[in-house]
């Protein structure tokens, strides 16, 4: 366990000290705070922009950190040869994958928690009370981060940083377009296309499972079984991704 923890600590500190992260943090906090001034432009009786904006910003922040830092997580180590002294220690390759994953995940979790807290404070300043219902978004935003980070680690274990970032963006877009893919599969009359669409629908990640924004902002009821399904889906999908990444990484040589 201490070996995994060493990699977690290394990844956490290395990622935290990257300058791009500071810029993202400052920019995201500014956006959340600035949303107070946008609120008067919202139509309707309840302050929606304030809620929606904060959730979107903290979610996009997590995704950006995953794509920018996560895409280089393994490949940078190989390219810069920093991985040499790690691989040659008595460490299993799977421990490296899990350590890298958890290191960046914990960092994003801490930062997103901070953003959620700031968001609540902004709501309190505007309305005089917190909105604890919105807190449900936090763990599900992290589940999305988990899945996307798993995808990036998978690509990072065999391809370049640029390719991994591109794949991250593609999977993010496809992942959120998953319900449309299902709709297409349901409605198309071409049998081959129908099966193909279903295959893609079931294989590719459905990131909309973790998107509760509309329900939370409009205070729509959220069912426990829906949350439970999303939780299990996110965890199983991530574990599978990490397992495949480990299998690929185990075969990797370092020239």
């Amino acid at each position: 366990m201490h070996r995994v923890w060493a990699i977690v600590e290394n990844t956490f500190k290395e990622s935290l000290r990257q300058r791009i992260l500071n810029l993202l943090i400052i920019f995201s906090i500014l956006l959340i705070v600035v949303s107070i001034f946008l609120e008067p432009f919202a139509l309707g009786e309840s302050p929606k922009i304030l809620r929606d904006f904060g959730l979107v910003v903290s979610s996009i922040f997590g995704i950006l950190v995953v794509i920018i830092i996560g895409s280089s997580l393994i490949h940078k180590d190989i390219e810069k040869r920093t991985i040499y002294t790690v691989i040659t220690k008595p460490v299993k390759r799977g421990e490296i994958i899990v350590g890298k994953f958890l290191g960046l995940f914990f960092l994003i979790a801490v930062l997103e928690l901070g953003m959620t807290a700031i968001h609540q404070v902004v709501i309190f300043v505007y309305e005089g009370s917190f909105d604890p219902y919105l807190l449900i978004a936090f763990p599900f935003s992290l589940l999305e981060v988990m899945v996307l980070l798993g995808i990036l680690l998978l690509f990072s274990s065999f391809s370049s940083t640029t390719m991994t970032s591109i794949m991250g963006i593609i999977f993010f877009i496809i992942g959120h377009g998953s319900p449309d893919l299902k709709l297409f599969a349901d409605q198309t009359k071409v049998v081959a296309l129908k099966y193909l669409a279903y295959i893609f629908y079931y294989i590719l990640p459905n990131l909309e499972n973790f998107n509760l924004r509309i329900d939370l902002v409009y205070k729509l009821p959220i069912h426990t079984d829906q949350l439970l399904f999303s939780l299990c889906y996110g965890l199983i999908y991530t574990i599978l991704l990490l397992y495949i990444s480990t299998l690929i990484f185990e075969r990797r040589e370092f020239k």
């Binding site: 990699i7 600590e9 290395e14 220690k89």
Partner: protein, 225 residues
């Protein structure tokens, strides 16, 4: 490309692995340390498969021209490598090694602020952090000033006195001459000579040519002729 490499390193010796650039020194070391896999053949470390965790537990390795995590401090870097090597009681050891490699004052400095020589020293410290029985150093004297080279050579000899086995590659021949018990010469992926330094010098060259450098140049020229 390596071809027909047959090499045995004796326990407790300092073995110098010498060869011109591109001869296959680093490739050989990468295979021994498990960074590369041989197409055929067998590599054993103290009788164990080279890529087993048990074998890796006994190895300390310094890569050639090492690059390390920029944003970690020297202390953090050694701590992480101690933990990776299953050394959980690391604090005293980290401070001892920082002092030994002359980086006591730089322990809290991030590695991106280290000079090339300092990186080489911290790299050697991470190779020694788990007190390994086999220390593999790829060009450990490169990038060091004369004082630094002397200190690292002393460190290698100190490890030898502790009964450790040291396998290192170098192209700084006079330095190798001072610290090696045996040497191996690799040229174009093939081992040309292996043996005790004194014996090789006696056999290979005239009596008035006494330096390893002269002898080495002669071997390379003969091979290329």
């Amino acid at each position: 490309m390596l071809n027909d490499i047959n090499l045995e390193i004796y326990q407790g010796e300092v073995f110098g692995f010498l060869g011109p650039n591109g001869a296959g020194k680093t490739t050989t070391i990468k295979i021994i340390t498990g960074l590369l896999r041989p197409n055929s053949g067998k590599v054993s470390i103290f009788g164990m498969p080279y890529d087993s965790l048990k074998a890796k537990q006994l190895i300390g390795y310094l890569p050639e021209s090492p690059f390390f995590y920029d944003h970690l401090t020297g202390y953090e870097f050694l701590k992480i490598h101690a933990l990776l090597g299953n050394c959980t009681d690391y604090k005293k050891k980290v401070y001892e090694l920082l002092e030994k490699v002359g980086l006591k004052r730089a322990g809290n400095l991030q590695l991106r602020k280290y000079s090339r020589g300092m990186l080489q020293r911290i790299g050697i410290a991470q190779a020694l952090i788990t007190d390994p029985d086999l220390i593999i150093l790829d060009e450990p004297l490169t990038g060091l000033d004369p004082i630094g080279r002397k200190e690292i050579k002393d460190l290698i000899l100190e490890q030898k006195q502790k009964g450790k086995t040291i396998f290192f590659s170098s192209h700084i021949l006079p330095d190798a001459e001072v610290i090696c018990d045996r040497i191996g010469i690799i040229i174009e992926g093939k081992i040309m000579k292996v043996g005790e330094l004194k014996q090789l010098l006696k056999k290979g060259i005239k009596t008035d040519e006494i330096s390893l450098e002269d002898w080495f140049v002669k071997q390379v020229k003969e091979k290329n002729a």
